[in-house]
Symmetry: C2
Subunit: 212 residues, 2 copies
């Protein structure tokens, strides 16, 4: 397998964690997001959405981080990243999607760039935007996590799964922008548990070969 | 089953389509998004994310539209909303998530309200923002759809599925904001095919009891 990745891409980070958790080795191709390499026609031929990541598996090209993680779950079921019970699966997917569909998209690089260039927002205003949506989104995550918490170490039970794959990159982003995470104790305890695992630690941005 | 819904919520619209495609009857509870009823503590007790929709199934509460659709797929497999082959499933999920994780979140009501109130953007500027992200996102969707198109009527093959459940509400939004959809012919042909089906037509905003 080959992962088209960028060290700071949250979505690529999610897939790096999932691959590590499943013990799958992969090659890497580095696409420099900040330099706009994802918008080049050469990459568009690989990923028509021109987004990161892309996973190549036996010549087949897969896109969108959560679709890739579902594919890995279906093709390499062990260890599972989703529980067995449909209701529990729905809970884990809902937590993952709260991050992937509500928090992260509003703060991704192309939105921040648009705020600066098209709306003339200052760096300080862009940072305030970033922190606003982190606070809004993590409050929702904390409320959901706290309600469904089953005493397990991770988002659901004692095995890390799809929701943890999404949570950890989001917290890295929150910390990078110096967001206040004190109001989210259950979330931050779960993050800390994840970071004790080599699969999460090895996937972090600063440990990628393309980190600058 | 009971669906907590709002006629104009794209995410609720996705689940209404999925329930109709699967032939599942449901009761409704109307949560008025524009009046902020989703932020009331009473609804927070039902959905800790304070978002629409919520599906209640035998007293169990499910959140996040795509997690709900995956749950329906697992608990009511016929007719399927995902193909059987893992690679094909990944393609359908990727198209669905391109809408749910890239296009819709940047244009949802709370983001538009924040642009107005916190960033002081005029209605005209907010509309320009809306159209910008529709054009950006649908161009990606069109490129992906065109590449993988298998001659079928829908996003994948001749059966409507999860990607179609996401596409149709997004096109309704695009049309409501008078976005130019001419550059996206494959996407619009697929939309037109969907709208020939009663399951999609009956789910549309103007046909909901809470439409104003």
């Amino acid at each position: 397998m080959k992962l088209y990745t960028y060290f700071r891409s949250s979505a690529a980070f999610r897939v790096r964690i999932a691959l590590n958790l499943k013990g799958l080795a992969y090659e890497t191709a580095f696409i420099h997001l900040a330099k706009g390499e994802h918008r080049a026609p050469a990459y568009g031929a690989i990923n028509p959405q021109s987004l990161l990541p892309t996973l190549e598996d036996g010549g087949r090209l897969l896109t969108q981080s959560l679709a890739i993680i579902e594919y890995l779950e279906e093709t390499h079921p062990q260890p599972p990243l989703l529980p067995k019970d449909p209701l529990a699966r729905a809970r884990v997917r809902s937590l993952a999607m709260l991050i992937a569909c509500e928090i992260h998209p509003v703060n991704n690089l192309r939105v921040l760039t648009h705020l600066k260039r098209a709306l003339g927002q200052s760096e300080e205003q862009v940072n305030a935007w970033y922190r606003h949506w982190i606070a809004d989104g993590l409050a929702k995550f904390e409320a959901d996590l706290a309600r469904g918490k089953d005493g397990g170490r991770f988002c659901h039970g004692d095995q890390p799964g799809m929701a943890d794959c999404c949570l950890v990159p989001q917290i890295f982003n929150a910390q990078r922008y110096q967001c206040d995470t004190a109001p989210f104790p259950a979330t931050m305890r779960t993050f800390a548990e994840c970071m004790k695992l080599e699969a999460f630690d090895r996937a972090q941005p600063s440990k990628q070969p393309d980190a600058d």
